[in-house]
């Protein structure tokens, strides 16, 4: 493989990491509060707002069930509005972020709903405000599950980011399509796939390790 190609693979990897990092960060920052809201706004819960809860839930579901590739195309005007372009790495970040938000929201909701209701009860009995309960109890107790949720998000994002390559999004997917498929260079395709696998493996084991480190629910040593 030519040094030029290797360079391209390196820069495509960086593009992928860049897309995943930005979309993951912004998507999680927006998805986290939505997830917390979904998990705490049911009837008789910390911030009771059952109607809003249902509406937000519906929107989240709608976004989750839209195939990613359709989402990418559907929001092109919005993407252009924000980034001034509809192709390339920067443009790809917009649909990736939009897809991340509901994904994270549902994972966060599930992580928080897992927490024993008795802990919320105990905190209320101590005179905690709902906000204190969120920060001192829910987020603290859900930390291992949230870490796993974030891991899953990043892994999915790596997959999605390869998909935006198909619509000119840049990154490893783009490289794989343009060289590996269109110019029929199977060795490039192979390298792209291997790099993706290695990335996913690294993220997954780092996430698992971190989650295990946070998890104090069972005896260690």
């Amino acid at each position: 493989m030519s040094p030029d190609l290797l360079l391209r693979i390196g820069s495509a990897t960086l593009d992928t990491l860049y897309m995943v990092a930005i979309a993951g960060l912004i998507g999680s920052l927006i998805g986290l509060p939505i997830g917390i809201f979904l998990a705490t706004s049911g009837k008789g819960e910390l911030f009771p707002a059952p109607t809003t809860n249902r509406i937000v839930g519906l929107i989240v579901n709608a976004a989750r069930s839209t195939p990613f590739i359709i989402l990418v195309v559907a929001i092109i005007p919005f993407t252009r509005l924000i980034t001034g372009t509809s192709i390339g790495t920067k443009a790809a970040i917009v649909p990736l972020t939009i897809a991340t938000i509901p994904f994270v929201a549902r994972l966060v909701e599930a992580a928080i709903r897992e927490i024993d209701k008795g802990l919320i009860e105990a905190a209320r009995a101590m005179g905690a405000t709902p906000m204190q309960i969120v920060f001192k109890v829910l987020l603290a107790e859900a930390r291992p599950a949230l870490t796993l949720a974030l891991t899953m998000t990043i892994v999915s994002l790596i997959g999605y980011s390869a998909m935006v390559g198909a619509v000119g999004g840049g990154g490893l997917g783009d490289l794989g399509i343009r060289y590996g498929y269109q110019r029929f260079m199977p060795d490039v395709m192979l390298v792209v796939v291997i790099v993706l696998i290695v990335l996913v493996q690294l993220v997954q084991s780092a996430g698992d390790g971190l989650a295990r480190h946070f998890d104090r629910r069972s005896r260690k040593n």
């Binding site: 101590m126 001192k136 603290a140 629910r217």
Partner: protein, 360 residues
């Protein structure tokens, strides 16, 4: 000895007053409407350990949750130190809750926090600074005997140790009132006793009022001075623990008491028990004795006075609320003469008796 008349604590001496309290759960979804508490009136003496006992679903948890406003009454008022809990807004409730500790059946400790962190939580919530928290938590861990575990996580502790941490946490804000919802129900009998001892000590040393709910008569017997029996959302019996145990009036109380060791007849006897005596049958009688009578050599005197054969079927000597108490089930001839002599002996010695039935 007779039952001392029960007088409820005067309003000024009451830490908690339930006045005609009802709790009605409206129908929702698949579950129908339900009245969990029906005009409950009860006062909890300041400095007492008061027990509320009842079967599962009787309304105990609902009742205790009204005290710190985790639940709102649908009728009547709950006064805690003279404050009407139902009338408080959220901020007022939070302030009240900081002065009322609570412990739970499943401990409800945060798995993500160390022992120290768990006890510190209510203080953090109250906005106390780090140094003050440190100063407050250490002696609490000493009090519950777990100072050496301060850096451990709950998963590394036994059930009894977890409940000790729960107690330390409940005491962190220096409350005047401690609520206990089945705090020992998940523990083995020995650990239960040690937790109850701790509660007793806290009650005596800190002057803390303890309101505990339980479905175990053993718990009521071991620590409470006063007890109320709740059944289907109503208080059916209340009084000093000793009196309620020795003279249970309501059938629910009797039924719950019958589970205590020494109260239960051997199966072989209870199966053969008849309501009426036939010729040659023997009467099965429960004798209850307390105070001085518990210390006299009653059995040898009884055998002498009755003159006939006396079998001992079951028996126990125990302490309720610190007072000695004995219960003995004996059988002797059901003929008029023997029975008459026995009754005379019982009256002379001030024994409370209950004829349970007759056996062949």
């Amino acid at each position: 000895m007779s039952v001392s008349a029960y007088t409820a604590p005067a309003p000024g001496d009451a830490a908690v007053i339930f006045d005609g309290v009802s709790k009605h759960f409206a129908a929702s979804g698949k579950s129908g409407a339900f009245t969990a508490l029906d005009t409950v009136s009860l006062s909890v003496g300041r400095g007492s350990i008061t027990g509320i006992i009842g079967r599962s679903g009787a309304g105990k948890s609902t009742l205790i949750r009204l005290v710190n406003g985790l639940e709102k009454p649908t009728g009547g008022t709950v006064l805690v130190d003279g404050v009407d809990v139902g009338a408080l807004d959220e901020a007022g409730l939070r302030e009240l809750r900081r002065s009322v500790g609570m412990i739970f059946q499943h401990f409800n400790l945060l798995s993500s926090r160390t022992v120290f962190g768990n006890v510190a939580l209510p203080l953090e919530i109250a906005g106390m600074d780090k140094q003050a928290i440190e100063k407050r938590v250490r002696p609490l861990l000493d009090l519950v005997g777990l100072a050496d575990k301060h850096g451990r996580y709950p998963a590394e502790l036994s059930g009894g140790q977890k409940q000790r941490i729960g107690i330390a946490r409940a005491l962190a804000t220096e409350p005047k009132l401690l609520l206990s919802d089945e705090a020992t129900s998940a523990l083995d009998p020995e650990t239960t006793q040690s937790i109850l001892e701790l509660l007793k000590r806290i009650n005596a040393d800190l002057g803390l009022t303890v309101l505990l709910i339980t479905h175990e008569m053993e718990v009521v017997k071991a620590v409470t001075s006063d007890v109320a029996v709740i059944d289907h959302g109503r208080i059916v019996e209340r009084g000093h623990t000793f009196d309620v145990f020795t003279h249970p009036r309501h059938e629910t109380t009797r039924a719950m008491l019958s589970g205590l060791p020494g109260s239960k007849l051997p199966d072989a006897v209870s199966r053969g028990l008849k309501p009426q005596a036939d010729d040659g049958d023997r009467a099965v009688v429960r004798l209850t004795f307390f105070g001085a009578a518990a210390e006299r050599p009653l059995i040898s005197q009884l055998i002498k006075s009755v003159g006939a054969e006396v079998n001992i079927i079951a028996g126990t000597i125990d302490e309720i609320g610190g007072r000695p108490y004995g219960s003995l089930v004996v059988a002797y001839g059901a003929d008029a003469e023997t029975a008459g002599r026995a009754e005379r002996f019982f009256t002379e010695n001030g024994l409370v008796t209950e004829v349970l039935g007759y056996v062949a």
